[in-house]
């Protein structure tokens, strides 16, 4: 019957983040709907994808999602393991498999890891930072949990577009860096807009009694950036790439400390 699906039918959705389309295939209609809802705004109608993953839905959880993820290069493919998912992915064939229960958090983690691996050789990275576009330029607000990323996202003024309240997506194009919107949500539970803009500055957040911007040296900036870059793979080559990416970035983009009180007027400093 038209519109009806069978258990064996292969369904797919292409999710494009940072101009990188990834096809997810699964024979579970309810899980496809879950993906389409969670990644709405980042689902593309394009048929072509750079990478493709087959998702197998496991009937039961393997364990707690709080366990640390393990990411290893194993001769020809990446292996991603956590108690709630197992994934493997061969960059040469551009194909991979994910085994997980029907929850949105496992696939979200896999996508974050895949993007960190793909960005590393290009000088890009994912950063623990909220970010927004204002006046055609993007501003990133980095810091550990509790530093104020969500607060800055919540206070975004009407003339700015939120890119993310949790994980900023930074791409390098020559000497220019761009921040992209992501569907990776944090405490605010609000996906970013699917837009991008050149990065004007990164602010390391520190709560205080007044609003002020303090300069930071390049060394301090690189240390702060490295503390907030997401990277999971421990391979020396990957560590090298992330280090080089952070050093290159702070050589091109200003990094400041933003001391702020959690009120809307902090955005008067962000122009």
């Amino acid at each position: 019957m038209p519109g009806q699906t069978t258990a064996a039918e292969r369904l797919e959705v292409v999710i494009e983040i940072g101009h990188l389309p990834i096809r997810l295939c699964v024979n579970d209609p309810s899980f496809i709907r879950l993906l389409e809802t969670r990644y709405a705004g980042f689902v593309t109608s394009r048929r072509e994808a750079r990478f493709e993953f087959e998702i197998e839905i496991a009937p039961e959880a393997f364990g707690s999602a709080d366990e640390d993820v393990r990411v290893q290069w194993d001769s020809e493919c990446w292996r991603l393991d956590r108690s709630d998912f197992h994934a493997e992915w061969n960059p040469a064939t551009a194909r991979g498999k994910i085994r997980q229960t029907a929850n949105p958090y496992s696939i979200d983690s896999v996508l974050r890891i895949v993007h960190t691996i793909l960005l590393a050789p290009t000088g890009g990275f994912l950063l623990h930072a909220s970010s927004a576009v204002r006046n055609g330029r993007s501003f990133l607000f980095a810091g550990v949990s509790g530093s104020g990323k969500t607060t800055m996202a919540r206070l975004v003024p009407p003339d700015a577009k939120l890119l993310t309240d949790e994980i900023s997506y930074v791409c390098r194009r020559g000497a220019q860096y761009y921040a992209f919107g992501t569907p990776f949500v944090g405490e605010l539970a609000r996906a970013g807009e699917n837009v991008s803009a050149p990065v004007a500055a990164v602010y390391l957040l520190a709560k205080g009694a007044e609003n002020r911007i303090e300069p930071m040296g390049q060394g301090e900036s690189a240390r702060a950036l490295l503390e907030n870059i997401l990277f999971f793979a421990k391979e020396p080559e990957m560590v090298d790439l992330v280090f080089e990416a952070a050093c290159d970035f702070v050589s091109c983009v200003p990094v400041h400390r933003l001391v702020f009180k959690p009120e809307a007027d902090v955005w008067e400093l962000i122009v």
Partner: protein, 106 residues
């Protein structure tokens, strides 16, 4: 005192001078080290072939106008610390750039 001590940069390290600081990252442990300008000068001069006292006398003392005995004492402390973290390799024999002791040639 050092006698003839040789220092070489450790393995699997990525390094970059940013401002007046040397950032060094161990690719094997993901540990980040920061060296000030003087420490960076010693690290950069650590070619495994030049004795430490020669590095201190010919480079550090001349460049930074420090008495030899003070500079030597500080340098000894520094290289011991960096060697304990794998950032430098120490030896009483000349070292290949990789930090492996060279066979003596006659």
């Amino acid at each position: 005192m050092s006698g003839n001590r040789y220092v070489a940069r450790g393995n699997q390290l990525a390094a970059r001078m940013l401002g007046d600081e040397m950032m060094i990252m161990s690719a094997s442990t993901s540990t980040l080290f920061t060296l000030n300008e003087v420490a960076a000068a010693i690290w950069e001069a650590a070619d495994g072939a030049t004795p430490l006292d020669e590095i201190v006398t010919n480079q550090i003392c001349k460049q930074y106008d420090v008495p030899v005995d003070v500079a030597m004492r500080d340098a000894e402390n520094l290289v011991e610390q960096l060697a304990s973290r794998g950032v430098l390799v120490l030896s009483d024999k000349p070292l290949a750039p990789s930090g492996i002791a060279r066979e003596e040639t006659r």
